[in-house]
Structure formats: C-alpha cells, structure tokens
C-alpha cells in the first residue's frame, strides 16, 4: 500500500512521499440523511502545514477521525504514511490534539505527568519512564514554551497554557504527523499568534507534518503553508497570502449558503489563490459552476 501511494504521488509530480492520502473519501453517519463528507481527495506531502478551514458541521472533525482511524465505514481510500489509519495510529506515527473539551480538568496530574503519558504510556509497567522518554518530555515542554509550567496541575492552566501542554503531550510521542482539531477555541488573538509561531517551531525543529482544522480563519491563516476549504466537499486550496477579507467573506458564506439551502442546489463559494482565476470578485466562480454542472475543477476537486 505504501509503495502504491508513493508511486502515485511520483506520477503526479509531487515532491517527497505523502504523509496523508485521501482519495475519493465519502462518509455518512449512520441514520443521517446527508453525507458528512463527499468525494474528498486530499494529498498532504511530508513536512507540510495544512490548514483546513470550514464552517461548523462541514466535516472537518469527521475527516480527522477518519485519518486517525477512529471512525470506520467510509468509502474511498485513506493512507497515512503508506499505512492504514489504524495501523499508523497503533504505530504511534500520528498524534492528535483534540478540542480541549475531552480533558478531565479534575484529574490530579501535573503538566509533566500529562506530557509523560504521551511519551511513555506504552512502556511496560515494571519499567519507569526511561531517560529517553524523559528527555523527549523535556524537549517537548521546551519547544512549546511550557517548561515553567511543568509542575503546575493541568486543571489550573489557562486556555493557552493548556493548549501548549496538550501539544507538548502530542509531540512527546515523537509523531511524524500532528493533527490539531480547533486549537484556537478559547484563545485570544495574541494566543493565536503564539500558536502560529509554535507550529512553525515544530516544523523547523521536528519536521512534523501538521494538519490544523478550524472554523476560525485567524487560527488557520498564520500557521499554514496551504489552506483548504472543506464544507462536506473539499473545494479548493489557497495560500495564506490569498486570504483577503473578500475571500474570507466568501469562505464563511458557506454557513449562509447552508442556512438558505444553496448547498443543496450545488452552489458553493470558494477561496482561490490570490491573483488566481476569478471567483473572488463576487462575479461568479468557475469551479463553482463546474461543480454545479457536475464537472470537476482543475484538480478534480482534489487538494
């Protein structure tokens, strides 16, 4: 499978092996009327920082669940570093920072203990966290700037501090891919800037491929090489520089389109490369009309 993905990437002229490959992925929750994801094709080269932007309910978290192998029942193909998602997760090659609602803040753990769980939970019980694991914990804490918080209880951290601690926990596992789900929820603008700087440090320091999903454009724009727009279907990609106020308005009009029922009529609003083919000027979008006509965009709807 790994060879298949790698050779396919080569055929497409992409540089380097793919960290994540989704091909024609569709998924419908049991009992749901409409699919949560429809024919999503996504290629993420290793080392890239990809932001996935979309409205609430647009399928962002579902896509992460599928990439992590936490959710089955999809159609299409998903590979993570050439492996099945479940195998990649079991191998510890992919780490995940969830929306922080899942964390039990009453749990009596210090930041260092919580981060150590990420590094050493697989260690046999008769062995303490080894020197190598402890070194990874300290390196992760330093990288996210949480060294001074190491002895603080996780229940007493602010939103931004907790976010850094959770990222440190993920990094301490030494993953090759880091997925972050809505990392900027509850963090102010200054915190989001720090988050973007942190993602850059992670790439520079560890070469980790990062995928950040958010409905908040500010959280996506500053820390990504490429931004994809997901609203059930993956529409297009854009460099952060192309995220002009006009483009933002169009991206977030997905919410409006969904509310007024335009989505069901095949009308989508896309973000495009700054200076690229039209569509941001409000006069219509070539890819939208292609989609509405049943045709594919330049990349076949793939990103």
């Amino acid at each position: 499978m790994g060879q298949t993905a790698a050779s396919a990437a080569k055929t497409r002229g992409e540089s380097g092996p793919l960290a994540i490959l989704c091909e024609g992925v569709s998924f419908t929750y049991p009992g749901a009327d409409a699919p949560a994801l429809e024919n999503v094709t996504l290629r993420v080269p290793t080392g890239e920082r990809l932001g996935i932007l979309g409205p609430n309910g647009g399928g962002k978290s579902t896509l992460l669940s599928l990439i992590l192998g936490l959710q089955g029942g999809h159609t299409g193909r998903i590979e993570v570093l050439g492996m099945s998602p479940g195998r990649a997760r079991a191998a510890g090659t992919i780490a995940y920072v969830a929306q922080r609602t899942g964390l039990e803040r009453a749990m009596p753990l210090s930041v260092r203990q919580a981060v150590t769980l990420g590094a050493a939970w697989r260690e046999p019980p008769w062995r303490g966290a080894g020197a190598e694991a402890r070194a990874r914990v300290e390196a992760a804490l330093d990288l996210v700037g949480a060294g001074a918080l190491a002895e603080r209880p996780i229940g007493k951290l602010s939103g931004g501090e907790l976010q850094r601690a959770l990222i440190a926990r993920a990094l301490a596992a030494r993953p090759r891919i880091l997925l972050l789900d809505e990392p900027a929820v509850g963090i102010d603008v200054a915190g989001q800037r720090l988050l973007a700087e942190l993602l850059e440090r992670i790439r520079a320091g560890m070469g980790v491929t990062t995928v950040v999903v958010s409905h908040d454009l500010r959280a996506i724009a500053a820390g990504s090489d490429r931004v994809a727009c997901l609203a059930r279907r993956l529409h297009s990609h854009v460099s952060p520089a192309g995220l002009t106020p006009q483009v933002l308005a169009e991206v977030f009009s997905h919410d409006v389109a969904g509310l007024v029922g335009l989505e069901g009529r095949g009308v989508h609003v896309h973000a495009h490369e700054a200076g690229g083919a039209g569509g941001t000027g409000g006069g219509g979008c070539a890819q939208c009309h292609d989609d509405a006509d049943g045709a594919r965009g330049p990349e076949g709807g793939a990103v």
Partner: protein, 293 residues
C-alpha cells in the same frame, strides 16, 4: 470504651475482626478505583453495578435454595460478581447503543438495569425463600436487611481471604495498567487517538467495580457500598491535586472510614454499614470546608 471490650473479648473479637479485615481490604480496593470513578463521573455507574448485585444475590439465593451452592461461599461470590459484571457490560452496550441512536442515554440504561436487577432480585429471593422453607433449609437464604446494609456476622476468615485476593488483584491491575488507565481517565478521546485501548480500559474498570462492590457489600451492604466507591476519591480530590497524594489519601480516607465506622458502631450499637458511610460523609464535609480545590 465498648470498642476495647469488643476487641479484647475473644468471642466478640472472633466475630468482628473478620468483618473489620474485610472492611479494610474493601476500603483498599475502593480507595484505589475511587479517584477514577469520581474524575470520570462514574458514580451512577457504580450505583447501578452495586444495585445489580440484588439480581446476583437473587440468582445465588435460588441456587442455594436448590442446594447447588452454599450461601456465603465462593460460589455465591462468583455468581454475584458474574451477574454484576454482566450488568455492567449490558449498561455499557445498551447505553452506548441508545446514545448512538439518540434515543436515550447511558444514564437511562443504568436506571433500567438498576431497577430491573432489584426487581429480579426481590422476586428470586422470595421464590428461593419459599422453596427453602418448603424443603427445610430456611437458613440458606439471605435476609433483606443483610443484603441492604451488610452484616459483619456473615463474615469469616473465608471472606477475609477472598477480599484479600480481590484487593490484591485490583491493586496489581491498577499498577500494571496505570499508564493507559491514567491516560484514559484524563482524556479519553485523546487516549483513543494515541492508540490506548480505551474500551478494554473501561471494561477493566467496570470489572474492578463489580468486584469491589460485591466485596464491600458484605460489610456495608448493597445500598451503601456506592459510598465507598465515591466518597474516598471525592474527599481526596478536594484536598489535593497531586496524583500520588490523591491516591494515597483516597485509600487512607477509606481505611479511616472503616475504622471510625466500626468504632461508632461499637459505641452506639448502630449497624456498621451506615456508621461507616456516616464517617465517610463527615470526612468529605470536612474536606469541603477546608479543601483547597
């Protein structure tokens, strides 16, 4: 001091010492799982499992009335544990399925299993009693009072050995699976994403709960055994936010509750079960008043 009389008199000591031993071992087992129960908000699950013991006792009583097992023996213990474990599994499966269909919740499933087990237990104990009376073995069926509130008079060295085995098993499991267990308790969603077998961890905790409930109810009774699962951990978590301190305090509070409860029971003549719970509640109230969290 009637307590000293109880403990110095050879006859009384032989009656109460096994009960105190069972209580101490149950407090050890409960104290180990209690912080996880509190953090994961599994108190109602614990109550559901403890009340499902009614059904287990009903089945065991019927088997005893038929002469297939002995009342109070290992076979009865195994039957009740198996019933509680099956009920815990059922609560998880039905609750999960109901939540998935959005037609109910885990709480509803627990409530259904709880009342169904109590009803089944009540019916089977009555049937067993009638059968035992008819066949001249009335002593083979437990009294409702001992099921509800426990009875030290039914405990002997056999129960002490059984409880020691259970406490040892719970302590060993907690040590062996401390890392995946802590990860699951702290952040279940992330733990699953990191590859922690969260379903197995939850199932293991449910089995541990079933074991400690059945162990505890000998002394504290079915209704009150929930208190030993919840109050030590809740008290410790009010006082500290350090992992080792919380777990140590949880066990210490459970042991202190058993000790204080028996002293109150000896001094006043009240039942040990309610006395133990009263002592635990008093410690929790004190922690609320002075606790830092």
């Amino acid at each position: 001091m009637r307590t000293l009389e109880y403990l110095s008199d050879p006859v009384l000591r032989s009656i109460y010492l096994p009960g105190i031993g069972v209580g101490a071992l149950a407090a050890l087992a409960c104290g180990i799982v209690s912080p996880a129960v509190v953090v994961k908000r599994l108190g109602f699950v614990g109550q559901g499992i403890s009340h499902s013991a009614f059904g287990g006792i009903g089945v065991a009583s019927l088997l005893a009335a038929w002469g297939l097992i002995e009342t109070g023996g290992r076979a009865e213990f195994a039957v009740v544990v198996a019933f509680c474990a099956a009920a815990a599994w059922g609560m998880g499966v039905v609750g999960g399925a109901a939540a998935g269909r959005r037609s109910g919740s885990e709480d509803t499933a627990i409530g259904v299993f709880l009342v169904a087990s109590m009803a089944l237990g009540a019916i089977l104990v009555q049937v067993a009693r009638e059968h035992a009376l008819a066949s001249g073995r009335a002593g083979d069926v437990r009294s409702w009072e001992s099921i509800l509130f426990g009875s030290v008079s039914v405990t002997g060295m056999e129960e002490v050995r059984l409880c020691a085995a259970v406490a040892g098993l719970v302590a060993l499991s907690a040590w062996a699976f401390r890392r995946p267990g802590l990860f699951w308790a702290a952040d279940e969603e992330a733990a699953r994403a990191f590859g922690v077998p969260t379903r197995a961890v939850r199932a293991g905790l449910m089995l541990a709960l079933a074991l400690v409930v059945v162990t505890t109810m000998k002394v504290a009774g079915v209704v009150l055994s929930t208190a030993l699962l919840v109050l030590p951990g809740a008290t410790a978590l009010r006082v500290s936010d350090r992992l080792a301190t919380v777990w140590g305090l949880s066990v210490a509070v459970g042991l202190a509750g058993i000790g204080a409860g028996f002293v109150v029971s000896f001094e006043t003549g009240w039942q040990p079960g309610p006395s133990i719970v009263a002592a635990l509640v008093a410690m929790y109230a004190a922690a609320l008043a002075v606790g830092k969290r």
